[in-house]
């Protein structure tokens, strides 16, 4: 996904045509995560302290990113791994393709990874004649459906079991029942074959431990372990923001992540991979490559407000509590990452020309910031990016449409010169009779039509000032 080809993200346009089934499916799944998270958090009296420590470690790591990345590279190389640096998405794709070509790879099995979604690796592999198979159940489903993920941790959250059964039946040419256990069994059967024959395993990573050069993967289905141990070649594509200083800091994030994401104390599998296998009989591939992805992250690091987005540990808790996300689903955000975190990452990664609507896709209700395990001040960053859109800053020129700029200019004048405002307030009730029905105003002209198409408006009254003046005058007379 690069800047030149990423199309404009039309949140508003999408929000007008959300398929009815999406909010229902999303709300069902997310409410389960929300209650699970709440239960786990209640068990930990030191939860708030833990969040603060997590946030502080992230802050420290961001400020010393170069140090930790260099340490990571050295440690991994001495463990026998190969380290590649990818400045842009296309660099990362090129590196992975090059490795695949050198090893004559025909089939690659993939573990769930947001970084490879970010760089749209599957398209590149297919174009090079390499079959890439997603092996996480959710990712497998959306790969069959030909879409991107609609949630950070549950990529197919927007689909109901009936839709998944229909998809399996069509794509696999079988009769699949709408039963989650049976659907998982079918996928497992198909995928088991692929694991046995793939020449390359591709994964992302949840954390990178600088101290020892260790890749940490947090998964639930066991497919991640298959991808990283069955084939003799393992390539991990990981964003540079995933680095943590040492094992001690990792323990903090492991406590925060599963609880925030799925409401588990710990995910089913936590894998630590330090380079390739070194001795016969050890598990793991012969060759291990780590592709460190920048793709705009070092530019984001230069923005003292916006960079907090890089603290994210991809738990999805912000989306699970976001009333906007729950009513539009992940595709509305037009990118690999959705929900509140997507609304603050995409405009920084893709620019405020492409993604200028996303910072506004929030009521600034603040529910996301309350649950974020690393205390990312999401509403503050949303406002910061709205400023970038509305008036421009050192990172980007303004991108707000002219009519809105003009409206803001008039509003500013009318609200600052209080006689204009007061005159307006006295005149507005004049329009009441034209739109009044049963004590409410409806069917009003633009821009108020955008309010009244959803619910009526109370009539303009603005009588308080007069009441106050009359009362004060009487009071003065009587004394």
């Amino acid at each position: 996904m690069n800047r030149a080809t990423q199309p404009y993200i039309g949140f508003e346009e999408y929000s007008e045509h959300v398929p009815q089934s999406i909010p229902l499916a999303v709300q069902q799944a997310t409410s389960r995560f929300v209650s699970g998270r709440a239960a786990r958090v209640a068990e930990l009296p030191q939860w708030e302290e833990l969040r603060q420590i997590g946030s502080d470690i992230r802050q420290h790591t961001m400020e010393n990113m170069d140090v930790y990345l260099t340490r990571l590279e050295a440690a991994l190389q001495s463990a026998g791994g190969h380290v590649h640096w990818a400045e842009k998405a296309e660099d990362a794709r090129r590196i992975v393709l090059q490795i695949a070509k050198e090893h004559n790879v025909k089939t690659a099995v993939k573990s769930k990874s947001m970084a490879t979604e970010e760089i749209e690796l599957n398209h590149a592999l297919e174009a090079a004649g390499i079959q890439a198979i997603e092996t996480d159940l959710g990712e497998y489903i959306i790969q069959l459906a030909g879409t991107g993920p609609s949630h950070i941790i549950v990529p197919a959250v927007h689909l109901k079991k009936e839709e998944i059964a229909a998809l399996f039946s069509e794509k696999l040419d079988i009769h699949a029942p709408a039963d989650p256990i049976e659907l998982a069994r079918i996928a497992r059967e198909v995928l088991r074959e692929k694991f046995l024959h793939a020449e390359m395993g591709i994964s992302g990573g949840n954390f990178l431990i600088a101290e020892t050069g260790t890749l940490v993967m947090v998964t639930n289905e066991g497919n991640g372990r298959m991808c990283t141990t069955m084939p003799d070649l393992h390539v991990a594509v990981v964003g540079i923001d995933k680095v943590v200083p040492d094992w001690e800091s990792l323990t903090v994030f492991l406590k925060l992540l599963a609880r925030s994401a799925t409401g588990q104390k710990l995910s089913t599998y936590t894998q630590f991979i330090t380079g390739p296998r070194r001795a016969e009989g050890e598990f793991g591939p012969e060759e291990f490559h780590l592709v460190l992805l920048d793709n705009g992250r070092s530019k984001i690091l230069k923005d003292p407000v916006g960079r907090d987005v890089l603290k994210c540990i991809r738990c999805g808790a912000c989306a699970n509590v976001c009333p906007v996300y729950k009513n539009v689903g992940g595709f509305a955000y037009g990118s690999f990452i959705s929900g509140p975190i997507g609304a603050i990452l995409s405009p920084q990664m893709l620019g405020t020309q492409t993604a200028r609507e996303l910072p506004y896709a929030s009521t600034l209700c603040g529910a996301c910031a309350d649950v974020c395990p690393v205390k990312i001040p999401i509403p503050t960053i949303l406002r910061h990016l709205r400023r970038r859109v509305a008036q421009g800053d050192e990172f980007s020129a303004l991108t707000v449409p002219v009519p809105i700029r003009v409206a803001a200019m008039f509003a500013s004048i009318a609200l600052a010169w209080n006689w204009i405002y007061r005159l307006g307030a006295r005149l507005l009730p004049v329009i009441n009779p034209f739109f009044r029905r049963n004590g409410w105003l409806s069917g009003m002209p633009y821009p108020l039509s955008r309010w009244t198409k959803v619910r009526p408006l109370p009539p303009f009254t603005a009588r308080f000032r007069r009441w106050w003046n009359v009362r004060s005058a009487k009071w003065k007379d009587s004394t």
């Binding site: 906007v324 009521t363 600034l364 209700c365 406002r383 509305a390 000032r465």
Partner: protein, 245 residues
């Protein structure tokens, strides 16, 4: 005798005359001597929240001028507008400038209505009577930016004959969000309908909020849904002397 200045907010000014009268009479009954600076307009939050920080400054200056003729506390029937003044005004001006000093000073004496009653005046029972089943919608900025979690409920629980019933997803946004309602009307609609459905299934005949914005949205939504449930600002309920029928 306490003194205070009325900050009526632009939505209150345009749409909620009766609530503002009730606010005046209630505070006066509790012994607060009120003034009303007529030069006030809007706090500027709609501009600020939409990224027009530079265009917010002259609006904030007008507000600060209007309220600096007295050093009495500034009381508003909205947590959102108070949060704008309290938390965001100081960020509008460079530290060390006279404007910044003024913004910090104004911020320190601006209070939301229920906050002022419960935490400053230490009054929880205002002598209201309201023999109804009532549910409560926690407004986002009131709850999260102002941190007012118990004040409204403390006041409601002291109202004679009032039965407070719980609201499913009490702390979930109603879909107002200022300009959000007209920027993404369809999303606002889904959120509002979700809130309205929860209010209806609460079994209450009255829903209370402390925010004019939420009130407009929820009241309009209830009307559109054909519901007879009354949406009220907490001030109007606290002014009620209704006796059981």
């Amino acid at each position: 005798m306490s003194k205070a200045q009325l900050f009526i907010t632009c939505l209150g000014d345009q749409f909620y005359t009766a609530t503002l009268r009730n606010m005046t009479l209630l505070l006066e009954r509790l012994g607060v001597e009120l003034t009303f600076p007529a030069e006030q307009t809007c706090c500027g939050q709609p501009l600020f929240n939409n990224g027009f920080e530079e265009k917010t400054r002259p609006v904030a200056m007008n507000f600060m001028r209007a309220f600096s003729t007295s050093d009495a506390p500034i009381i508003a029937p909205s947590g959102s507008c108070v949060s704008m003044v309290k938390h965001h005004y100081p960020s509008l001006f460079n530290a060390g400038t006279p404007e910044h000093v003024l913004a910090v000073e104004i911020a320190s004496r601006t209070f939301e209505f229920t906050e002022y009653l419960v935490n400053v005046l230490k009054i929880t029972d205002v002598g209201a009577v309201y023999p109804h089943k009532v549910t409560y919608h926690a407004s986002c900025h009131y709850l999260r930016e102002m941190g007012l979690k118990t004040e409204a409920k403390t006041l409601l629980n002291a109202v004679k004959d009032l039965e407070l019933v719980s609201l499913n997803e009490e702390e979930t946004c109603c879909g107002f969000g200022g300009a959000f309602t007209v920027t993404y009307p369809e999303v606002s609609r889904s959120m509002m309908e979700n809130k309205v459905n929860n209010i209806i299934s609460s079994g209450a005949d009255t829903v209370i909020t402390c925010e004019p914005g939420c009130l407009m949205n929820v009241a309009g939504g209830l009307y559109k849904a054909g519901s007879k449930i009354r949406a009220m600002h907490i001030i109007d309920l606290l002014s009620s002397k209704e006796e059981p029928a």
